[in-house]
């Protein structure tokens, strides 16, 4: 998913399937790697079937790390389950998503 060379226009980090406590450590490792390479934190969540609080926490952590490290942050594609959580917690602002915007079209 990551290229060998740090390129600013790298493919987005894709989290898919279950973004739960059971996958938290693995997802975290991948995020870490990307931050280590100082790649923009662009995350594709369109294939997330299930997200729990630990998954949400990881996204918040990514957002904070991006700010701390001066990296661009964006979410590319939100699955229905992610949208549900964002709506429940009014997190669209936090992640720079206009609530009027359709998840599919926001980049």
């Amino acid at each position: 998913m990551t290229t060998d060379q740090p390129t600013p226009s790298a493919d987005p980090l894709v989290f898919d399937g279950e973004m739960t406590i059971y996958s938290a450590t693995a997802n975290f490792q991948r995020l870490r790697e990307r931050i280590g390479k100082r790649l923009p934190i662009q995350i594709d969540l369109s294939a997330v079937t299930e997200i729990d609080s630990s998954g949400l926490q990881l996204l918040l952590y990514a957002r904070a790390e991006a700010d701390d490290n001066g990296l661009d942050f964006s979410l590319a594609g939100l699955s229905e389950s992610v949208t549900d959580v964002f709506n429940l917690l009014y997190l669209n602002r936090t992640f720079g998503i206009s609530s009027a915007t359709q998840p599919e079209t926001s980049a």
Partner: protein, 746 residues
Amino acid sequence: MNMDAARQAFVEEVAELLQSMEDALFALESSPDDTESLNAVFRAMHTIKGTGGVFGYTPIVNFTHEIESVMEEVRSGREPMTEQLVGILFECRDHTGNLVEAIVANDSDENLDLDPELLKAGQQLVDKLIARNTGGTGGASAAPADAQAAAADNDSNQPKYLPVASDAWIIGLDFGPDAFRNGMDPLSFLRYLASLGTIVDVATIPIWPHNHDDFDPESCYLSFRISFRSDADKKTIADVFNFAEDDCNIRILAPESAQEKYLELLQRLPDDHITRIGEMLVEVGALTPQELSRALNSQEVTTDLDTEEDAATKKRRLGEILVEQGSVKPALMEQAVKTQEAARKRLDENRFIRVDAERLGHLINLVGELVTSSAAIRVMVERAGIEDMNEVVDGVDYLVEEIRDNALQLRMVPIGDSLSRFRRVVRDSSKELGKQIDLVITGGETELDKTLIEKITDPLTHLIRNAIDHAIETPEERQRIGKPTTGTVLCNAFHDSGHIVIEIKDDGAGLDADRIRAKAEAKGLVKSEDVLSHEETLRLIFEPGLSTKDTASNLSGRGVGMDVVRRNIEALRGSVELESERGQGTKVTIILPLTLAIIDGFLVGAGQEQYVIPLSQVSECVEVNPTDTSNRNGEHYVNLRGEVLPFIRLTELFRSYNDENKSSRESLVVVRFGHHKLGLVVDTLLGELQTVIKPLGSLFENLQGVAGATILGTGDIALILDVSELATIGQTHRRASSQYDYASPQ
């Protein structure tokens, strides 16, 4: 699977479980300690109860619960398995089967009207179980009710909380690091919360570790601040998060509208028992029990070092903690404190009620009658020889005694109030006399009958005035003889074996025994050849017409002397004692019974009559040997272990003779009053009794030596003897024997 099929499955399962229970019970008959069998019995009941509950079969739940509890005790070794218990358990097994059959036969969940006979049988079994437990039959009916209550406890027992109409709740959730690991997903709680109302807004606040590298994706760093609109009450909202109680710090702040309601409720809170601020807030629903216990815990942590801290500070601290932890808004806390204070005040006001003393007197009279009637019942029962009644009569006697003590207690007041009025007397009169006198009062909390207090005020005033007037020297005189210029009058009260003792002590000049003696001789009270002890000499001041100061001051007056003091006190069945040493001071001790209405008496028979002697004045009873008695000038003396004791023969005094008893032996009751002793010779000793004193009425006012009369259990009347008056009769008799003619038969 539909419900009918589920019910059928339940019946089959119960049959299986009961079969295994039966097998286990058979096994227990031969080996009562077999763990496996004990477990099998427990599990059968436990499972049937649990499953029955899911179906809503309350009678099954209630019944099996009892057996389960007993088996829990046995299984854990707290109680042995006995043959008797196995027998009962067999019956319980059968009854469970019957219950299940009956309930399922009703074939509708709603229709649980069971045959009352069946329920009764179950009740009897439960009673048996409990009777076996408590080793008796008492209390058997209470426990099943408890079981019912426990079963109903799930939802009916909750206090009513106030629904909130509008406005938003503020909920703060700070999750602990282990929340995820424990399977607690904050999102789940929030989703559930959303089902109770509208989540208006949420602030998700992650608290990252200081060093971002320490971030552990499996740890929880999330906090939430939620604005929530709902009609649910605080408890319902708090319950959403109850599974997270170990992993989350929960704060729930009620909306303004609810605050107003809480304030209103707080103001209207009945103040019968709620005086603790936390409990008050929980009561109105402003605080959840969890929030309170959390605050109390943190309070303990901060205050356990300074245990002496006063309650007020602690209370404020709790308030501060509650506000700080965000459970309660400050305005609400203020109102709670106000309500609490008001409640305390009202509680104080309510602690006392004014009762007309006459009503109390009437009550005490009635109790007196009750004492008499109770004694009558005992006599009747004994006469009728009804064995079974004795226990009942004992019980009634005990209660009557308790009622008597409590009723008398109602009229008891501390003596302090009437003693402190002497402060003014001492201050004013010492000023007038140019003396410096301190009044020291101790034992002011000592209680005695209000009617007694009223009656001893005069004698006490007199004694204190005597001390000020005659005893305490002028400051110049005191300085000259090396005493502190300020004299002290000590007033002390205390209880001593059924009596109240009041001491008036001064550090004044003391009594001059020689001068008293001289005056007494001059007045003809004693003859010059009489030998009197120091104490006897001092006691002469209680005789009429004796005064120790040559010129009576305007304070003490002329007419009232110590004889009046003594008479007043003896009229209360009390006595006065005197100690004095020249130059050192005087101590007057007044000993009074606690009450006037009822006495513990000693019943004696003399002639055809019965008499009551106040038990507290009875020193001993001995048999009289006629050879030990002597008669001098009509006075009787008896040699009591070498001591010459004057005595009065009651038959002679009251001229009541019974010729039949003449030949039988007599008994001597030794009574004491103060330091003095007197013998009363009676025919028979009849034992102790409680008795009410009834005034004799004006017709008998002149009857000397009698304090009153009482009605005995048998209905007979007995005279209550006034020991100090009898002694006076004896003394007067000795001093002027010729005036009295007792018409002695001897």
